[in-house]
C-alpha cells in the first residue's frame, strides 16, 4: 500500500492506495501520528484507491480517529469503495467513520 499526505489548507489529506490490511495498518497509524504531531487538526483519509480493508485496517482507522480527537482535532474518511463500505456497515463502524463522497466535502461548511 502507498500513502501520501498533502496539506490542503483547511485540512490534511492522507491518501491510501492499495490494500489496508495487517501489513499496511501500522504504517497508517505512523503517518497519521506524524500529521497529528506536526499540529494537523483536521485529517481526511482519502480511500479512493483503497481496494480492500480488513479488521486490522479498520482498527487502525479507529485508532487514528482517537488520536486526532485526543489532540483536539478530527479525522474523516472519503471516497470509500464497495469493499470498504461493506466492512464499515457490517461492523456498524460507519456510524463512527461516516464516509464522505469526496475529500473536499469531508469538512465542508465548518
Amino acid at each position: 500500500m502507498e500513502f501520501s499526505t498533502e496539506d490542503k489548507g483547511s485540512y490534511t489529506e492522507v491518501s491510501a492506495t492499495g490494500r489496508l490490511n495487517m501489513v499496511a495498518a501500522p504504517r497508517l497509524r505512523e503517518i497519521v501520528g506524524d500529521v497529528v504531531s506536526a499540529g494537523g487538526k483536521r485529517i481526511v483519509v482519502n480511500l479512493a484507491g483503497t481496494s480492500f480493508m480488513d479488521s486490522s485496517g479498520l482498527g487502525a482507522l479507529i485508532g487514528c480517529l482517537k488520536l486526532a480527537r485526543q489532540s483536539g482535532g478530527d479525522l474523516r474518511i472519503a471516497a470509500a469503495q464497495p469493499q470498504v463500505t461493506m466492512v464499515l456497515e457490517l461492523t456498524s463502524m460507519h456510524r463512527v467513520l461516516t464516509p464522505h463522497r469526496t475529500p473536499e466535502e469531508a469538512f465542508a461548511g465548518e
Partner: protein, 152 residues
C-alpha cells in the same frame, strides 16, 4: 452440482508476505471464476483474509516447527470454499469463539469503540460466510469457510 470449477492453493511460511500472496491468488481465482457475483467475491475474500491474518498474527508454532499457512480455495457452481491451515502449530488456546456477539454499536455517550480487531475479525468471518468451522488434525489447525453463492 459440487464440481470444482476453479481452484487455487498456497503454502508458505505464515508471514505478512503470505497475506500479500493470498490476495494475489484470490485475484487469480476470480479471473478463473468471473461468473461469481461481485458481492460474493468481496465477502468471501474478506473472510478468507481475516482467517489467514488470524493464523499469521495469533498462530503459535509447535516446538521446533516452522509455522506454515496453507490455503485451498475452490469454486463450485453454488459454493465458495476455503480450507485455511495453520501447519506446525500448537493447538489453539482458547479455540476462537465462532459465534461472537454482534459488533459493538457506537456507544451513545460519544466514546469511541475499542481498536482491538481480533474479536471484530471473527465477527466479520462469521457474518460473511455461510458456515465456518475450526478443527485440529495432527499438528494442524484447520479453518473451513464456505459461502453459498448464487453465481452459476
Amino acid at each position: 452440482m459440487n464440481d470444482v470449477l476453479a481452484r487455487r492453493t498456497l503454502e508458505e511460511p505464515a508471514s505478512e508476505q503470505a497475506i500479500e500472496d493470498l490476495h494475489g491468488i484470490l485475484d487469480q481465482l476470480w479471473n478463473d471464476a468471473a461468473f461469481v457475483p461481485a458481492l460474493d467475491q468481496m465477502a468471501f475474500a474478506t473472510a478468507v483474509i481475516e482467517a489467514a491474518s488470524n493464523v499469521v498474527q495469533h498462530g503459535v508454532p509447535a516446538e521446533g516447527a516452522t509455522l506454515l499457512l496453507g490455503v485451498e480455495l475452490t469454486v463450485s457452481a453454488e459454493r465458495l470454499r476455503a480450507v485455511i491451515s495453520e501447519i506446525g502449530a500448537e493447538a489453539m488456546d482458547p479455540v476462537p469463539d465462532l459465534d461472537p456477539p454482534p459488533a459493538e454499536v457506537f456507544p451513545e455517550d460519544g466514546t469511541l469503540p475499542h481498536e482491538d480487531e481480533s474479536g471484530r475479525g471473527l465477527f466479520m468471518i462469521r457474518a460473511l460466510v455461510t458456515t465456518v468451522t475450526v478443527e485440529r488434525e495432527g499438528d494442524t489447525n484447520i479453518w473451513v469457510l464456505s459461502r453459498d453463492s448464487g453465481g452459476a
